[in-house]
């Protein structure tokens, strides 16, 4: 297994393959700035929650020239920010449950957003783990050549975490099997 590209995004910084990308905005606004700079033609971005926006822009920047067979992501707090947003729509006395918010109350939705955009009809998986390192054995086991009949060559894998508005971090990699 080898990593060919990597991106790290925090609310104040973006580092692509070790090079800092200069951004003006911070937090959620920075994700919009990245979208406008690197994507631009996918208005569905504006319907996404922060976790999906984060994973989506990170994937878009990484996958410019690479097609992946699978998307395997993880984080620590699942979809808790979206869960809280949805809860606000069902508070007692103000009960208007929002289907648009409810759909984002699953962390694997971000893998679905990436799969739709990049036409990934291979595996998409989402794990909730204590720390990013815990994903390593899962990736190793998933990419193991001995097991895969469908032969995974390239995987988009990594950590996408968003616990509160404007608090997030992502570290995504393209991993090759040889």
């Amino acid at each position: 297994m080898r990593v060919t590209h990597q991106i790290e995004i925090s609310p104040t910084s973006v580092v692509l393959d070790g090079q800092t990308i200069v951004v003006e905005a911070v937090g959620d606004a920075m994700l919009v700035e990245l979208y406008r700079r690197y994507v631009c033609d996918y208005p569905k971005f504006f319907k996404m929650d922060t976790l999906s926006r984060l994973g989506f822009v990170a994937a878009e920047i990484l996958l410019k020239e690479t097609k992946v067979d699978a998307v395997i992501l993880a984080n620590r707090s699942a979809s808790i920010k979206n869960d809280n947003d949805y809860l606000a729509t069902i508070s007692e006395g103000r009960y208007y449950p929002s289907p648009a918010l409810f759909v984002y109350t699953l962390p694997n939705i971000v893998t679905g957003e990436i799969a739709i955009r990049r036409h990934v009809q291979g595996e998409t998986s989402f794990y909730v783990l204590d720390k990013p390192d815990d994903l390593d054995p899962i990736i190793r086991a998933t990419m193991s050549n001995d097991l895969q009949s469908s032969n995974l060559q390239t995987v988009l894998a990594g950590w996408v975490e968003c616990s509160e508005p404007n608090r997030f971090n992502a570290k995504l990699q393209i991993i090759w099997n040889n």
């Binding site: 949805y86 109350t105 739709i116 783990l129 899962i138 001995d146 469908s150």
Partner: protein, 332 residues
Amino acid sequence: MVYCVGHNIISPLGRGSKENYESVKAGRSGLKRYVNRFADVEPFCASLFDTPQSFVSLCIESIEMALEECHGTIINTQDAQAVFILSTTKGDNLELLKPAQQIAHYFGNPNSPIVVSNACTSGVCAQIIAKRLLETGIYQHAIVIGCDLQTRFIVSGFQSFKALSPDPCKPFSPDRQGLNLGEAVATIIYTREPGEDNQKPAFWTLQAGSIHNDANHLSAPSRTGEGAYRCLMDVMEGFCPADIDLVGVHGTATLYNDDMEEIALERAGLQNVPKSVLKPFLGHTMGAAGVLETIICAMAAKDSNNTSQMLQVIKMLSGFGGVNAAIRIQCE
């Protein structure tokens, strides 16, 4: 392949896999109509426990019962060679990692637990990652737990989607109106090598698993059943449709899901293979569904097998995020 050496189900239909299986076989359903269960929520039909349950205690109880049933193989949960894998969508009041850690801690397990959160396919995906981790030698034993309890959060959300049927669900019927939610916990213990001194070392073996995204829509399945079809073709590799003895379908009884599954099954040539659908008995138990339904399908296959031949059983699921998953198990 990996061996199932223990399993358990606790649901409104009973405590223990056998009690649940016998209930389903006798045609009993856990579905009831609830009028004032949650504030503001419209009346709904679901399979719920009579009294509120603690997520972690329920999981622990199920694991303990599954460990007791482990014939021939001693599983030491304190062993660093064992890993806990929890399949859940909404966990313990929206907490996913914490209950998994509490469960692993209770059993003295030193490893970080894995929570699989792949929407309604989680219970099958959890078995697939268990298989991979065991087969690559990263672990020796995996304790796979599926659990979800129904809350105001979940019921209101599915109602906002207009996905709930006000009456007991009717999977694959032309007049089906949607799904019913359900509560349950189920545990399967997989191991790489079962004990040698036992004549019947395992309940079944997990032979193949596959996960595919439709890459089509977040909350509606593909019209061509693409992801589900690909999963079926993967787990049938080396087999023809006539070799498959039973398919445990998802059968949520929503208009789109059942249509999609029918298309995927037909494309895979499985239209004439017997199907099992369990939602009218236990509701859609979300994170528990894949674990629970695998156990009942395996028991049903064994129960009806009056030959000495091995049976091939497929369990398939689909969920939000466009994800589909399937496994093939082999049982005597």
